[in-house]
Subunit: 410 residues, 2 copies
């Protein structure tokens, strides 16, 4: 099947999904979880083939992400069951307003439509993102990394066999494509695809953002900062910086640059403590907009909070930036003026995460300035429509002054 | 000044605007309104030059939109004073949640940043959009039509002279560019510009949507439908269709296609009544995706509601589509399954408008599936950031199970 036809089928599926009740969607998710559990061995077999084929071609970290072990399988299946427990995101009344007698306006949450997901090695993404799409009545077209093609195919066929058992569930809600040519067509296909979500490294995300007019939800770089003010607590500062850099150095919310107020009294002691925590310190303008992804930390001495804020608004990727200070006024100024999705005070940057925020699911972390910003939960897969109901109301009567709007919230 | 520098200045202005209090912004708006009132004659003089220069080159409707008379001037100035009365859109707490003892998350509304506005002949757009931008702490770069260049320059210089009188107000919040080359650079400038809002005909909007990766808020086509179900009231139907088509035929929310159930008993009488209302009826598949912009109405006889819904989901521009029926179940099905920003029951499509919805201001009408859909008020010029405040909280403690999230809404 050509991509255009496949995308058109996804569109049709998405239109048929707008009608699905919460019960049907949750039932479908539970059937998927059961079927994945039942066919776990089949998935492990497919994964073995992928691992075998790529063991000499990929880095250790890619290999690890590619590998599905029993723990990951358990988490993946539990993740689907957790999505069942989340509140229904579709059909919520966001506004109810009487415009005039008998003329009522309702703003109702609804699915976005068709979502293209492009992801790299981790095959567990399929189950996660498919379950979020099903919960929010969106159709998805998935494109996984070529290293995990056998695992992906197996997981998807189990998901689709499960969906076939739920007779009310429309066909083509979850589809998969495989080639670079498919990706190129997906990025062009704004006729049928409403949103692209890339899940992978910043090279992938950058490529996608630069090659499509379809809205992209995600982030390329994660260049996070900590500004250490002069009035700050040494132990707090040390612990926060070490956690932000070393707890998971390759995460997008790990800190990359430390800005230190010139009058912070214990700078040397602090830098020593960071080195003792196996952090490699560098101080070099070429690293101001660089995501190290390892235990390297750039640092710079600044004159004051204003310089720190300007530095951050110049070099930050707008993901998460933190101030460490005991001065609440300076903290407030920092959090107002720094233009990032997350602005933190005296906490590790590593908290930037949908689960830690209590969203129950994470679609991704967005550095966009429209639609959804920061860690994005299920809400990011929804939009709204306006329903207006009346009894023959026409605009002429209002323009001519025969009738008047009263705009009362219901 | 080159465009890049101008855009960079806008970005700096936008960062300095995040701090502005509601009082300062409202004061600035009132000063602008006063100054425009005081210098009205100067604006009329400039407008006269524009009218003189374009009287032989533009259509009557462009000429009318270009012309600023005393009524339009009064409405334009009143519009600014009305924006002052709107609730402050920035700094609203959208979510407040304790993640753990002393670790508090706040989702706070904030400006988007820099907004590029590209508009055609109507010079009053400058005052309207500048006041909405100021109210929402966004910087704007305006590009008006060349026909109104003298009027635009005069209005903008009055606005900027007014802003200079408000000493807390940052420079470069409202800037203007003039050339096609500037537009080309604006559409490329995703480094500094966060959102583009086109205000004009569908050619302009289409051109912009096809030539930028920056999010565009707006709609190109307004292809709206009315489906007349078999069980519907003749008088209601007649009045709604005539209002939807003739009350303002060139509006984007005017109806273009009427779908009539084959068993509606008074089709001939209805078509006659529409012709008596000076509506030109056509029935031709070539017009299914066509915006007439005049009193021409395409019509088609359909088998049932399903065919109507499929027709609409195929040909509608996703703006506003209406069902006329006395059968509430069919109406409910229609409003669920039609994938448009506005889904209406027994009312004129002409109600699709921010003022009629009670938003107090209208940024535009969006057919996007992300960020903002339908008539967009001030809210569409905002996004949010997450503030997280703690007292030395680090992620390691939670990963190692020493501490646990409690996720209590505050």
């Amino acid at each position: 099947m050509d991509f255009e036809q496949l995308a058109k089928n996804a569109k049709t599926a998405s239109l048929n999904m707008t009608d699905l009740s919460a019960d049907i969607k949750n039932h479908a998710l539970l059937v998927i979880a059961d079927e994945l559990e039942k066919h776990a061995e089949q998935i492990f077999e497919a994964n073995k083939i992928d691992l075998e084929q790529s063991k000499d071609n990929v880095s250790a970290s890619v290999f690890n992400r590619l590998k599905l072990d029993r723990n990951k399988m358990r988490d993946m299946i539990q993740g689907i069951r957790d999505v069942v427990k989340l509140p229904e995101p579709i059909g919520k009344t966001l506004l109810a307003r009487q415009l005039d007698d008998g003329l009522n306006l309702y703003k109702i949450s609804c699915p976005i439509g068709v979502i293209g997901i492009i992801f790299e090695a981790r095959p567990d993404v399929i189950a996660q993102i498919s379950s979020l799409a099903i919960k929010s009545s969106n159709a998805v077209i998935l494109k996984g990394g070529k290293e995990s093609v056998n695992t992906n195919k197996t997981i998807l066929s189990i998901i689709n066999n499960a969906l076939e058992k739920v007779k009310e569930f429309p066909k083509n809600a979850v589809q998969q494509v495989f080639t670079h040519e498919d990706v190129a067509q997906m990025l062009e296909c704004d006729k049928y695809i409403d949103l692209i979500i890339p899940r992978g490294g910043n090279k992938l995300v950058k490529y996608i953002k630069e090659n499509t007019k379809i809205p992209v939800l995600g982030h390329a770089d994660g260049i996070c900062h900590i500004y250490l003010d002069k009035n700050s607590d040494f132990e707090k500062a040390k612990n926060i910086i070490i956690d932000s850099k070393t707890q998971y150095p390759s995460a997008c919310n790990a800190v990359e640059t430390l800005l230190i107020h010139k009058d912070f009294p214990q700078t040397n002691k602090l830098l020593k403590a960071l080195e003792n925590a196996e952090i490699t310190l560098v101080s070099n303008p070429e690293t101001w907009a660089f995501e190290h992804g390892d235990k390297t930390l750039a640092y710079k001495i600044v004159e004051n909070a204003e310089e720190a804020i300007t530095h951050i608004n110049t070099y930050s990727s707008g993901h998460t930036d933190c101030i460490i200070t005991e001065d609440n006024d300076i903290a407030e100024q920092f959090m107002k003026q720094v233009d990032s999705a997350g602005v933190y005070h005296n906490v590790s940057t590593r908290f930037a995460d949908g689960f830690r925020y209590g969203f129950g699911a994470e679609v991704g972390i967005s550095t966009n300035k429209t639609h959804a910003r920061g860690p994005v939960g299920l809400e990011g897969l929804t939009i709204y429509k306006y329903k207006l109901t009346g009894n023959g109301h026409i605009v002429k009567d209002y323009v001519e002054g025969k009738k008047h709007f009263n705009h009362k919230d219901l």
